[in-house]
Homo-oligomer: 348 residues x 2
Amino acid sequence: MQKSATISSIANELNITPATVSRALQDHPSISHSTKQSVLKVASRLNYKRNRVASSLRSGKTHMIGVIIPGADTNFFGSVVHGIEKCANAKGYNVLLYQSNETQEHEIKGIETFLAAQVDGILVSVAKDTNNYAYYEELKKKKIPVVFFDRADDDTGISSVVTDDYKGAFIATEHLIKNGYNHIAHVSGPQHLKVFCDRKKGYEDALKQYNLPLTDGFIYEGNVSIESGKAATRHFLSLKQKPDAVFAAEDFTALGVMKELKSHNIKIPEAFGVFGFANELFGEHITPTLSTIDPQAVTMGKESFELLLQMIENKNEAVVEKKIVLNPIPVFRESSQRKISGHLNVYS
Amino acid sequence: MQKSATISSIANELNITPATVSRALQDHPSISHSTKQSVLKVASRLNYKRNRVASSLRSGKTHMIGVIIPGADTNFFGSVVHGIEKCANAKGYNVLLYQSNETQEHEIKGIETFLAAQVDGILVSVAKDTNNYAYYEELKKKKIPVVFFDRADDDTGISSVVTDDYKGAFIATEHLIKNGYNHIAHVSGPQHLKVFCDRKKGYEDALKQYNLPLTDGFIYEGNVSIESGKAATRHFLSLKQKPDAVFAAEDFTALGVMKELKSHNIKIPEAFGVFGFANELFGEHITPTLSTIDPQAVTMGKESFELLLQMIENKNEAVVEKKIVLNPIPVFRESSQRKISGHLNVYS
DNA sequence: ATGAAAGCGCTAACAA
DNA sequence: TTGTTAGCGCTTTCAT
């Protein structure tokens, strides 16, 4: 292959210096219109492409951001990445992707990779088992812009973009109550993650507000999986006081709940209500369709990137912590709505 | 922030030259054990991290690969990326992701971005509307390693990793036949994409082999979407000779077929069989569960990366085109299996 | 409006 | 085994 064109080759053709070419290419104000014209012409003739690596080395900006997600195989994270990508590309940024596979070990490896690659900033949704944020404190000291999305930590003082999990959970639980379920259980997620704490709190407060008791054994800590939804359900059904509805902290868990209920021939939503969280794709297509909370994944991606970009561009100024909270959108489907025609307390 | 350590800072501390440090860090054979030891010690004390940008500029290798996918929001591509990532990270490569949103325009933009970023190689699954491969010929001339996955082109002479689409389609159709359906229609995908040609051909050949006629109007060209599955079904139901089963070229299309059938109160699988392709996540969870072909997404990602890596490492040797064909795994679920107890031809 | 010159941090051919 | 030297391609300050 013939070597690709550089600013020097352009400069040679025109008998000007590389510096001038560089400036012309950047549309620098101090370059004459005619020079710019000719540079552009030669550049396109030689099929010149700026070497970003060289440019990055010199300028210290790579125009790359790193994104760490637990896994690329859920619709939720897929959509967030989609949002990030779209936005980043529009602003001339590239996206380096890294999957933690839900372990802190990989997460840290990802960050180190990103640092070595000199990314301009990092977006991360922490792994299930991340409970130590010392690493992020380090990054803060190094003034590397970092934004958490979805799975954020409250105490680290790092900017974040999350859904209003508390509100979403409250709405979900309230909806179940209004549909006549009054023994509502909850399958939560790992409690060291703020998301799942908040969702539990929303559930609890909704019960309180409607004067429903918090029954013993009605909260089961799952681990965000179909299997834990099933296990939770087996647990609930073994109680003397059985629930008649479940608010699951996440859709896959809700799916597990539904599967287990079906295998016990318990009718949803007639005999048992189910509500999820995440608006995973499958919820719309299963029978019955799954009620859920849409956390606005694409918007989350977009907002995360924009926030990060702000931080990148104002790198010198004091980095203020900024928290963006998205409005959760309830999606009421079949699994939580029964025709209540007057027998609100039929099961109590 | 204090500037991060460089090889020079390490060299200074030890009164040796940067070159020696560089070599020590690379475990170069000509460096003494003791020097390596001390370099490593100082490096870790200073928290040295190699600057990959500088390294790339000098060596011409970025250890980054670019991946272009139509979109990150299907389980299939999510899983392929998962496979790529895992494998790439293990080998010290980073993954730049770009989504074409199914348009050739974005796809080309992605490639240009990757070239500017000096990636070592590119993995691409072409967009729905890509029909011009001139761009890839260019890459070939420039000796940029490229591997197509899933959506490949046969004539470009570019290496690829795909599922045996023909075989998968054949198995699916054959299975429908063996389950007593004998008016089997097909919803295909865009025919300028080889995947969908192959699937159609597998369908046709299965019919032939079992001496079933290719009925007029039984092939509907969809565009890989729920909506086109619905439209196809409406078309099929409007025919005088109606089909009693559909092999859809892809799961979302199959889902559309099922939805439309349900809205006409046509029972699946009793009155109508449905078979998909892709093994999207939802198929396992809808009612009835969807029979499909598992194209081995994660394996596809892994194999694609390994093939690309080979090409990257043997860049000087003649690049031979290599095609890897994965074995499709049928997943027989409810939507295609009826109890046929002797009335094989009940509908004919 | 343009040129000259230095250098980002690292690597590698050649020399010793 | 280690040092010397040059330079990857670009940006940017300072000078003209």
